[in-house]
C-alpha cells in the first residue's frame, strides 16, 4: 500500500458567509482537514471559469466553491451565477477526463461553523478516494 494520499484542495470561500463560517468553526474549536487552501473571495460570483481551470491545471486535487445560502448573496445572485458556472465547468472537466466530481459547490451561512467543518471533512475524504489529480499523475508518468 501507498502511504495515505493527502489531497490538496482549493476552497474559494465567499467572505460574507463561508469564510466566516470557517472562522466560526475555528472559534468553536471544531477541526477540519488541513488539506484546504482557503482563497477568500468577495463573492463566489466572482470566481471565474479560468480560476477553476487553473487550479486544476496547477495541481489541485479538488476544488471547492463555498457560497452563501440561496437568497443571501450580498450581491443579489452571485451565488446563483457561481452555481451555473460550476455546473458548466464540471461538464468540461468530465469531457477532458479530469472528472466532474473533483469540483463541488456548497453553501453555508456565516454561523454554520459545524456544517462547514463536517462538509470540508467529507469533501476531503471524497477527493482522497478519487486519488491524485490525473493531470499531475499523467505528467509524472511521462517524466
Amino acid at each position: 500500500m501507498m502511504e495515505q494520499f493527502e489531497p490538496m484542495i482549493v476552497a474559494f470561500c465567499c467572505q460574507y458567509c463561508a469564510y466566516t463560517a470557517a472562522d466560526t468553526a475555528g472559534s468553536e474549536k471544531l477541526s477540519y482537514p488541513p488539506n484546504l487552501r482557503i482563497v477568500r473571495v468577495p463573492c463566489t460570483g466572482k470566481v471565474d471559469t479560468m480560476h477553476l481551470m487553473r487550479a486544476f491545471q496547477k495541481g489541485a486535487d479538488g476544488v471547492w466553491v463555498v457560497s452563501c445560502l440561496e437568497g443571501d448573496c450580498h450581491f443579489k445572485d452571485g451565488n446563483v451565477k457561481a452555481d451555473h458556472r460550476v455546473a458548466h465547468v464540471r461538464k468540461l472537466l468530465k469531457e477532458i477526463g479530469v472528472g466532474e466530481d473533483r469540483l463541488e459547490i456548497v453553501s453555508f451561512s456565516a454561523g454554520m461553523g459545524d456544517r462547514f467543518a463536517q462538509s470540508a471533512t467529507d469533501f476531503t475524504e471524497r477527493i482522497r478516494q478519487l486519488g491524485p489529480n490525473p493531470v499531475q499523475g499523467g505528467s509524472q508518468a511521462a517524466a
Binding site: T49, M50, R54, Q57, E95, I96, V98, V135, G138, A142
Partner: protein
Amino acid sequence: MITAERKPMDELIACVEPYKKILLVGCNECVTVCAAGGRKEVAILASALQMAMKMKGKDLQVKELTLERQCDPEYVEELAQEIKDADAVLSMACGCGVQEVAMRYRNTPVFPAVNTGFMGASERQGVWAERCQGCGDCVLGITGGICPVARCSKRLLNGPCGGSTKGKCEISPDVDCAWQLIWDRLVALGMQDRYEEIMEAKDWRTSRDGGPRKIVREDMSA
C-alpha cells in the same frame, strides 16, 4: 451577430493530438459576444487542452492569441510571426475566420474549434436565437419586422400552418410560431390588411441557392 459553440472536447483533442505546438486563435468580434471564441474562451480551451494532453503524457504548448477580427486579412496578417512556431492552428472564430487563416497561411493546418451556428440576437444573458438567414431579399418590411424565413420552421411566406398552437410552433413548445408573432405585430401596428396579400414565390437566387455570394462596392473596391 454570427453565433457559434465550442466543439466537443473529444473532437478537439483528436485535432491537436498529433502536434506539439499549437496556435490557438480567438476573435474579438461575434464569437466574443456569444462567448464561444473570445479571449476568455481561448484561455479556457488552452487550459483544458493542456490538461487533457498532460493526462496522455504529453506537454502541449499552446500559444494564445485573439485577433481583432479574424475575417479580415489585415488582422490575420498579425499571425505571420507566431504561425512560424506553430505546428497547427486551432481557430475559435466562425467559419469565415477559419477560412481566412487557412487562405493566408497555406502551409500550416488550420482546425476549427467551434461549430458556427446562425445569425442571431441575444435574447437574454447566455441565450442566443436565430433571427436572419441572409436570404438576400429582406421581407421584414412587410412581415411586421419578424422574419418568416429564419423563424418559421417551414419558412412559410404565407403562414401560419395548421400546426400553430397557442403561439408555439408544432416542432416544439419552446419555439415561437413566427406567424403568430407576425400577426400580433401587424395587429399592434394596425396593419392587419397586409396579411391577406399573398407573398409570391421567393426568388432564392439572392440566397445561397444562387451559388456563393459576393458584394462588390464599386466606390470602395479599386
